[in-house]
């Protein structure tokens, strides 16, 4: 059983399109995250949700809108895609609080052409 699963794994789309990435975790965690890994492999947090409530929004353009319908799901919708949005997007989950570890999904490689 995959602990944190994302779909799709690859996404190729044209500039200006709107796309969504889905994430689900079956670990019983209450906190979920989106991280972006750029072309230099640098990882940076974008959002985090705890019990469906937005906790972190790291100066991400408002074209990016996360949605958490329940504790086990955190989706990422991106409007008006730009070339610079090309990256690998990782979903992760953890228990809330200190002394916990985050588990990552397999990533979604988004390519905007």
């Amino acid at each position: 059983d995959t602990a944190v699963s994302q779909t799709p794994k690859y996404l190729v789309t044209q500039m200006g399109n709107d796309k969504s990435i889905k994430c689900e975790q079956n670990l019983g965690h209450d906190t979920m995250y989106w991280y972006k890994q750029d072309s230099k492999k640098f990882l940076k947090i974008m959002f985090s949700y705890n019990n469906k409530e937005l906790i972190i929004n790291e100066t991400v353009p408002n074209r990016f809108s996360p949605k958490s319908p329940d504790k086990a799901h955190l989706n990422l919708h991106i409007n008006s895609l730009e070339l610079g949005d090309s990256a690998v997007y990782f979903c992760a989950s953890s228990r809330w609080g200190q002394n916990t570890e985050a588990f990552f999904g397999q990533g979604t490689r988004l390519t905007v052409v």
Binding site: Y33, K41, L43, K44, I45, N99
Partner: protein, 114 residues
């Protein structure tokens, strides 16, 4: 500002060589520290973590790391690397704010030659 810095960006070793990857962090207060590995085309997997207690932590696949508070360091070590250790290695830290936010270092690409 909170930050994590990895000293080595690209390391090339022969099999059986010893490995040490440097990681320094800049945080006030309590910090949790992690090393993640990303094999080619795969997701991040946790190698090891430090929360408190014994500063020498052992992880999977023969990796270990030492937390040295006075040096703000959390270096990763392995006595003898294998070709299968070829991967990207990330040091990460989380502060005491309880938001769960991880701050990652720039990553180190390890290439092990058979």
């Amino acid at each position: 500002a909170q930050s994590v810095s990895q000293h080595n960006h690209h390391v090339i070793l022969s099999e059986a060589a010893s490995l040490e990857l440097g990681c320094n962090y800049s945080y006030g207060g309590t910090v949790n520290l992690f090393w993640y590995v990303q094999y080619p085309g795969q997701h991040l997997q946790l190698l090891l973590k430090y929360f408190s207690g014994d500063p020498l932590v052992k992880g999977i696949k023969g990796f270990e790391a030492e937390f040295i508070k006075s040096k703000f360091s959390f270096n990763l070590r392995k006595p003898s690397v294998q070709w299968s250790d070829t991967a990207e290695y990330f040091c990460a830290a989380r502060g005491s704010s309880n938001t769960g936010k991880l701050i990652f270092g720039q990553g180190t690409t390890l290439q092990v030659k058979p």
